[in-house]
Amino acid sequence: MSHTTKENFIKAKLFTRFDELYAPVLPRIKATVMQQQQIITDTFYAELSKDEAAAKIVAGRVDQLKATHKAWMEELFNGDYGDDYFDRRYKIGEIHVKAKIEPYYVEVVTSYLRRAFADALIEEGAEAIQASLAILDLDAMIIIGAYHEDRMRRMSEVTGMNQKLLETLMSFG
């Protein structure tokens, strides 16, 4: 389990006043976004399948992945963004790492979802769009954090240096 990513998640929520400004908004807009969920998910996987490398990753299990994506989207708007939320989202990051999905895909997929959510929520106003983007950013941060921690863990394994030492060395760069 990640301490650094969790600390960053907590700090990011405080910095953006997420719990105060955005968390209460998200359950209110859940129904609107979920009305578009099927289209968003289908388009997302259709786009992903156009990419040769991504197509190989999703081949043969698109339906299963679509169901997982729906569950992921639902939880995004549940309104509870505490420790359990973080743990489940970090686990998703670890699954991405284990599946050797390039972190680049997390970035482009998040970019796609940002646009899709903005489109779905355009009638709901700026507050709704901002809240959806804020939670997407936090989720992307958690998943990218899992990649970062995996790289640090592997670097530590290869060099024999503990992670604190690696961080100290990088501070001299």
Binding site: T159, G160, L165, F172
Partner: protein, 121 residues
């Protein structure tokens, strides 16, 4: 009774006094923190981190190449040398030595200090 820090400093003082070939001495933690610094100059933090990195890599190499437990590293620069001695995985002793140092004497003294430090740390 002397504190642990004082006992470490005593060992380092004695080592530094043993031969003028030893220019500086220090004890560093595996995390790259300076435990005791008599190296001189103002590069203590960086030296501690890089010394610990050197020790970690050396340990990794000795394990990978199956040459037994890591004991020491000897680096020769054009102007001076650097020696690093493992202290049972809990710390490392680092020395800077003169270019034309009498390495026989330096190694003898340093290994003695290494054993003494292992009793303290």
């Amino acid at each position: 009774m002397a504190t642990k820090q004082e006992r470490i400093n005593t060992v380092l003082n004695d080592l530094k006094m043993a031969t003028s070939d030893i220019q500086g001495v220090g004890v560093i933690s595996p995390d790259g923190m300076m435990i005791a610094d008599q190296l001189g100059g103002n590069q203590g933090d960086a030296t501690a981190a890089m010394g610990a990195a050197l020790g970690s890599l050396a340990k990794r190499v000795t394990t990978t190449l199956k040459v037994g437990d890591f004991q020491e590293v000897n680096i020769r620069g054009t102007n001076a040398g650097i020696l690093l001695f493992d202290i049972e995985g809990r710390a490392a002793l680092i020395l800077t030595v003169a270019k034309a140092a009498n390495l026989g004497l330096v190694l003898l003294e340093a290994r003695q200090a290494q054993a003494q430090l292992a009793q303290i740390i």
